[in-house]
Symmetry: C2
Subunit: 574 residues, 2 copies
Amino acid sequence: MTYRAPVSDILFSLRLAAGTDAGGIYADIAEGVAEQTLNEAAKFAEGALLPLDRIGDRAGVRLADGAVTTAPGWREAYAGWREGGWNALAADPEFGGLGLPALLNAACTEIWNAANISFALCPLLSHGAIEALEAHASASLKETYFARLVSGEWTGTMNLTEPQAGSDLALLRARAERNDDGSYRISGQKIFITYGEHDLADNILHLVLARLPDAPAGVKGISLFLAPKYLPDENGAFTRRNAVRCVGVEHKLGIHASPTCTMAYEDAIGYLIGEEHNGLACMFTMMNNARLNVGLQGVALAERATQASFDYARERKQGRAIGASETSAIIAHPDMRRMLLTMASLTAAARLICFETAASLDRAHRCDDPVQAREADERAGLLTPVAKAFSTDIGNEVTSLAVQVHGGMGYIEETGVAQLMRDARICAIYEGTNGIQAIDLVGRKLPMSGGAAVKREIDDMRAIAQESHYAAVGDAVEAFAAASDYLAGVMKTSPNEALAGATPFLRLFALARGATLLEKAAGAARHAGDPNATRYETLAHFFAKNVAVAAPGLVKMVTEGAQSVTEGGELFAR
Amino acid sequence: MTYRAPVSDILFSLRLAAGTDAGGIYADIAEGVAEQTLNEAAKFAEGALLPLDRIGDRAGVRLADGAVTTAPGWREAYAGWREGGWNALAADPEFGGLGLPALLNAACTEIWNAANISFALCPLLSHGAIEALEAHASASLKETYFARLVSGEWTGTMNLTEPQAGSDLALLRARAERNDDGSYRISGQKIFITYGEHDLADNILHLVLARLPDAPAGVKGISLFLAPKYLPDENGAFTRRNAVRCVGVEHKLGIHASPTCTMAYEDAIGYLIGEEHNGLACMFTMMNNARLNVGLQGVALAERATQASFDYARERKQGRAIGASETSAIIAHPDMRRMLLTMASLTAAARLICFETAASLDRAHRCDDPVQAREADERAGLLTPVAKAFSTDIGNEVTSLAVQVHGGMGYIEETGVAQLMRDARICAIYEGTNGIQAIDLVGRKLPMSGGAAVKREIDDMRAIAQESHYAAVGDAVEAFAAASDYLAGVMKTSPNEALAGATPFLRLFALARGATLLEKAAGAARHAGDPNATRYETLAHFFAKNVAVAAPGLVKMVTEGAQSVTEGGELFAR
């Protein structure tokens, strides 16, 4: 199964998100850096990562004596990754990074994950560690560890989950005790640690959440530590094995080549990041970006599944189209076209939403105007749960549709689309389940600045809807506005009823935002005479008339459906 | 992962579908046979089939020298199946069957497939062969083969698909030539043959579609043959190996323990079933029942996934519910309740639709009144594509939701719900893809008797909707009525536009029919003081307010969405 990184499409979406800032905060993009970077990224992804995707799925990883061996070719690919400088795209130039904007990094993230999500997870986790260290680590920790993490010589992990503490980190039990020299000793078991152990790099920097003996209960008693796999010896070489070991790897539905490890800490040496008991805040620093990256994984797998399905539907001949005298390629059949347009339009909408989110992160960091920066920060916060949950939901839907388009062949593992469906399924779960994203949207993001953030988003959508040919676009925006108003009120009086509508509300937001962004894209492409114009017009038309039309049903679920959810009588009793 | 066959629920649904016929054509059910049969079926399914489900998933099947070895324990389970008389439930008593109604057989089919779909597929295919032979085989063929197929001593297969001929059987190439003794020689390759080769029974009866040399082109030139794995020798013992061999087994996403075989025929001896060139009509005889059975597989896996999710949500503790002072079981959280109610209500609705379909098949065969019998036959035809496609669509949705409810644990294969999702995924594909079901509904079933069949269905739904508390039920029925009217007209003038709306139309039908059947169930249970009353009231309430509310969006997709599908510009060009 091939994959051609859709550089022209990505570049167009990226410029749309950059908007009028293209010459300002995005001067690096305007200068052609973006196009060149994307073309190089495409080359590496298609040449080095894609061929390993299926090999990795079949071979998985092997654990023996605490050491994890990755699939054949993985080590060479990672060396190529590091040498190509891909690990350093977004990081601070002071430590060897390229300091490229989040938007361009998002575009590359899509490409890596489309080619090989199991591989891409390793740098994804390293980036999380880079962000946390960048924002919170002491100068001495940074000096020792940061540059090698940025270059990719070493990799990073996130150790949050424990068997009893998944979505609820308040239940976390791992312990940390103070050593005399200012370091700490960490003990406990962590599960589901992505690339917790592997053979791609010489050292692994574990970021670990644990509790100090005098820590308050709950999430306010959690501290963040850096526990390297190898500690420095007397000569400053990293040869001393720390007391952290991989004691198991999971047998998973997908992402087989990404080692999901159970890690045992037994008085492992750790160094505090940030302040004691403030670990969760440190984790939150990187949350928006990490969640956006997972959303991009959904876009990535949806894009690849869509490409594979168009290819197959053009090749495979079954049945005669109405009026045809010979057997037709199945792409001629209307029901097949519905599936393909559903896939392509959901993917494009999710990409546009993710890129808007990335652009908001850039504006929050780069805008000189403090009001603009704050509003951009709020917008990133508002859009992030939508980018994460909607993109990964449609990642599931689109990869499953790809199996359907391929018919019986889709169910055979050799074809490859079943792997995309298996791989995609984790994205709606990790980095905060999609239910948690919806709760975050309703409970924390809607009330931001007294509702001003969502109000600005609605105004922006209304302006686009007013210009639209399609009534369904305006209907979707108004349905979202009505649902927002309703929830803002109910959240104060009956939070259970509000939260019962969180998931349909998030979907409603995505449909309104997706429909308006596709309209905007179609209009911009048409106006600029861009070669993508017809494509975006087709997708905007289809999305309005066949996807966004779900909005009136969704607003009813939000405003009238909750009572049947919160009640439930004997069904919820033991 | 446990499974408790929901006998009380199934029995209630079954009596609802039997309705006022309970004492008439269903005298065998009224006499308590149903309850006893279901309790015994539950015992066998839970005791003998369920424990093998995961073993089979892990072990798969092994092909060596043309022989397929099934997973450990499979042979013993099949022997128990045969000895328990389960294979003979629905077949003609003249040949050793029990002659039980299709409705009761449907109930048992759900139970077998919930416990172990890979196992249940073997008898499912045998039943198809039984029906085809019963209706079309000569007396001499029946005498030789039928009783052993009914008892389960031998099993049956369906050989339709070839690499170039899947959904489109007109492209079929397998050849048959006449022998002097009245038999035929069959040559060609068939793919995706379920239980095409295995070690559970001493002989396998292949039903094969092939073309005679003088056959007309297309589907009117296809004949149906019986080609046994072993042919009778001079003593009447079946020892002569026929020239049909398994040359490959597929590596699939799911149903690992069910051998999906590539079969090579090289002048294999076959016997004509029915008349030459009339093979497709013979296959159509059993189509309704086979499609209903696949629909029941969807219900089965959805039921099992729902049970597992309720169990997990009661056990797993994360987060505090609003107002709670301690960590709550996740079932207390509104977003989790939404997922669980979605699963339970979709499953119940799909079961009710499948059972209505089965009851219609019974009435078509058993009613003395020819008008009632014909109308029942039409109703079975109308409901069958909905039973197949909706039930298997929700099979995918509900098993995926089960993974979501289980969070990270759901993604780990050991938990078992990921297997349900993998297994379920085939059901929307085989026995006519769900797209083909939708096309069948719009192209062949809506026009039946000048639209009278769908009119009767709408009348029945309207009568229930008028009594409903929930406006959404009536809205769904009227949306369906409007879409039916629209399609009946457009199918004649612009078939492409009609077929572009086929899939949302089928879903719309299912939502209207599901909502009204749940209402009917709730009303009947309440009226009878049935212990299921509260449960069905809760499900009917939730379904009306959170599932059926999609209907107004779906009718728009049907009536206004087609143009954006049939057009598509450069997207569909090479």
